[in-house]
């Protein structure tokens, strides 16, 4: 079944790589009637566009309470997934499995937590250049008050040199491909559309649960029929769930740690060793070269390479790319049971993928993105990190599974005390502190212990990104 691109919001299928200027507005709805009117006036970008001709994009998503403020009945909201309805900070259990504890616990968040005003809407704004974004932003902000919407938070973003994230590594090299949309990704990296877009068969060949509406609840016949049930209309189709997390990165602490753990015996820094340790933690060199391809040095020929496996590329034991490294555990490819190295292993892994649409925020510690300059800068002022955005249709089996079973799990794939060296929570949902990083090697492994937590959560939310027709339904109805 081909995707109905004209009914899907653009950000779900494309990262808008040519629109490097972005800003996210978190909004509160006080007057549902006015908010519906506002919604009807928005020009929301669908996924049917020519990148070269587009200079600005607006996309939109809602929290569960946001949908309620828009006038959606409790009965209909009950049709949405449990994770979405409970919210990212909704239960202690969820905080535990996501690692949202300690300094990252929701009661310390800047937005999205129990002490913050409810963020009902995320408005995602993208512009080709600074002027385009600034114009779009002031236009949008002006209209908010006249429709009774409160601006809760404006989250600005930036684009770092060499397409890097703040730790200094090239980001976004590995991106999931959607079947029928992204034709250039390899088969092992191409996933059933239903894993990201509701209303299509998922990786189990099923239609993921989503909100369905009885005909009388849609008197204007704005919604299409559900593909798997002719008797009901589909509020979920062409939509998706958005996971939004503001992740603050302690860049100086990360490089200081790598520096201290690799010093020469005389106490002096070892820049090569430092870079190597950091690369081992990530699983790629700063320029993006996968360690599986080039374990001992950066290789420009492989800087954008994503066509590798672990068992299939001869790294069964993690001697090139450590078992516990960031990229090996967030996308284990062919390395986990059943039958590591087999197609079946890849197939099972495809049930735990997400599509990332994040943007970096905050000024880099050093424009060069080099560790020496970062260390020389010392204590950096201001905050920096990643506005992590990802889409999936089953938050529990996709985003939360990756976070708990892979990222924060000290026992990942036969390890003992190693959570994700880069983004791990250092213990909460497993009763173990983590913070050890083992580098498999012959004749014997080396390891570093006592890694602090480098990434903290500053705000988060689960949102629903509706299809275009569903947006019209939300704008019109009081069902």
């Amino acid at each position: 079944m081909p995707l109905q691109v004209e009914d899907i919001q653009g950000i779900l299928l494309y990262g808008y790589g040519q629109l490097r200027h972005a800003c996210f507005l978190l909004l509160g709805i006080s007057d549902g009637e006015a908010a519906r009117k506002w919604l009807g006036t928005l020009d929301i970008r669908n996924a049917d566009f020519k990148p070269d001709e587009v200079h600005r994009c607006v996309n939109i998503a809602f929290s569960a309470t946001g949908l309620k403020r828009l006038g959606l009945s409790d009965e209909l909201i009950g049709e949405f997934s449990t994770e979405f309805r409970e919210g990212v900070a909704g239960t202690e259990h969820r905080q535990r499995i996501l690692g949202d504890t300690g300094e990252s616990s929701p009661d310390k968040w800047r937005w999205g937590g129990p002490r913050n005003p409810d963020a009902h809407v995320v408005l995602m704004l993208y512009g080709r250049d600074e002027t385009a974004l600034a114009a779009l932003l002031s236009e949008q902000r002006l209209r908010l008050t006249s429709f009774g919407l409160q601006l809760i938070e404006q989250l600005d973003t930036t684009w770092l040199p060499q397409d890097k994230e703040h730790f200094g590594f090239r980001d976004g090299v590995s991106q999931t491909g959607i079947e029928g949309v992204h034709t250039r990704t390899s088969p092992g990296n191409t996933i059933a559309a239903g894993e990201f877009v509701l209303g299509y068969p998922n990786a189990y060949g099923q239609y993921t649960d989503r909100p369905l509406v009885r005909e009388e609840q849609d008197p204007g016949e704005l919604l299409p029929q559900a593909p798997d049930d002719q008797r009901v209309r589909d509020l979920g189709i062409n939509g998706s769930y958005l996971v939004f997390r503001q992740l603050s990165q302690d860049v100086v602490a990360f490089w200081r740690c790598c520096d201290e753990k690799t010093r020469h015996r005389d106490g002096s820094s070892n820049p090569q060793g430092r870079k190597r340790l950091a690369a081992k933690m990530v699983g790629r060199w700063p320029n993006g070269t996968p360690l599986v391809r080039s374990p001992e040095k950066e290789d420009p020929a492989f800087s954008g390479d994503n066509e590798f496996l672990y068992y299939g590329s001869g790294d069964v034991h993690g001697l090139k790319c450590p078992i516990g490294s960031h990229i090996r555990r967030t996308n284990p490819r062919d390395s986990l049971e059943p039958n590591p190295g087999s197609d079946r292993s890849i197939e099972v892994g495809k049930r735990h993928r997400i599509i990332r649409r994040g943007r970096v925020y905050g000024a880099p510690v050093a424009r060069s993105m080099e560790s020496a300059d970062i260390l020389a800068a010392g204590a950096a002022s201001g905050e920096r990190g990643l506005h992590f955005l990802c889409f999936n249709t089953h938050i529990g089996r996709q985003f939360e599974f990756i976070q708990h079973t892979w990222v924060n799990n000290p026992g990942f794939d036969g390890l003992y005390d190693d959570d994700d060296p880069l983004i791990g929570d250092r213990g909460s949902g497993h009763g173990k502190p983590g913070g050890t990083f083992t580098i498999q090697a012959d004749p014997i492994r080396t390891r570093v212990t006592g890694l602090p937590r480098f990434v903290q959560v500053r705000g988060a939310g689960y949102f629903f990104l509706p299809g275009i027709r569903a947006l019209r339904f939300l704008a019109s109805s009081k069902s």
Binding site: H93, D209, H317, R351, H404, G411, G414, G429, G431, P443
Partner: protein
Amino acid sequence: MPQQEALTVITRIRPGQVQTVKGILGTIADHRDDWNIVPFAKLPNVHFARFVVFDETADLDGNPIPAQLALMTNVDAPLDAHLRDLATICGAGLDTVFEHCEKYPGVAERTPAARFSFLRQHHTRASAFYVNRQGRTVQQILREEQLRRAINEHLDSIDLSGHSPEMVRGTIVAFIASRADLRWALHPPNPPSPMWRTTELVNMVAYAVLAILILPLLLLASPLLILLLRSHERRDIPDTSRASAEAVRRLRADEDYWMQNQVTAAGLFKPGWFRFLLATAILRLTDYAVRHIYNRGSLSGLSSIHFARWVPLDGRRRLFFSSNYDGSLESYMDDFIDKAAWGLNAIFSSGDGFPRTCFLFCGGITDEKAYKRFLPTRQIQSSVWYSSYPHLTTKNIANNEAIRRGLSGHMSADETRTWLRRFGVGNQLPESGIIARLLDRIRWDRLCHCK
């Protein structure tokens, strides 16, 4: 080393006392640090333990089933020694909990002997009992973890780069030899007793012979049996109801405090003689499979279960399943679907309301939505749960034992290199037996087609 056993004590709760018992037991989340009423930690041979209250319910004909309390443990043999430990060391605690149950000795008669015979009389043998790997005692598991930690810390303190594998192994062995508290590790663990191994062997051969004898009969009857099976599968009505959000939240609140979690689920058997015979046969086969085929740490590619049991309840009207496993319930359910669906379908499809199967092995839980909706409706909240090594996964335990075994005996250069890699990661499981490997190669999803 002794083998491992499963104790299942099932008792009726006195009328009107269910809430009192639940009050005494509390919830897993309540006492995740410590629960001192029945101090399992004082018993050196208990792997896992739990208390579960089965609420009052009714069977398919509407006959009432009274509320019951179950105590389950996984212990090192012999079972009687464990019962004696419970009756003495945990005597006062047992009194506190079980005095609300029928037939528990009166206040004046609560001697260790009386408690012992109470436990014994209420013990039900499991229809099938899965042990990740037979023969590892609690003390062995704990000591081997200590051993691995000590070696790892020692390795951190020295630089061995450039050494040959043999030299590195020699260094490690010498380090252990120098440590009086770890020197025991220079000998491999003893296997389970010859007596037990003989019984297992006899069981394996006897049932294999029996199977060969009745195979011709089965083959002859197979067209009829398959027709019967399909007609039942078409007729059975899957339960599409959903557990309340509140019930699910209560279950979640008990999960993910450690590397391990637990689950208990109970359901009524489907009615009719055909389903009764089929369920009996499948449970027999399951017992055989987990004892003799899937006994090397992997249950059809699913390696995260420490112990599991299937136990009949209420005069075989119900069956309950309980297990101790690594990771979250979400990952456990996904493992079931992705790795072991065929076997679990065969077993659980005898349960009323189970998602529709197709030729016994297919369909069923491969319907992810139906399965994840169904399980919470049959799940039962355990009140108390204890693990003596909540920080270890099945892979950790297996790897630790392999590390210990590598400290003694001769090794080839290849074996030495492989052994040394165990200090880096322990993800290489022992190879399954030949029959397990053959079974694992079957693509069940491609074998059956049903509408």
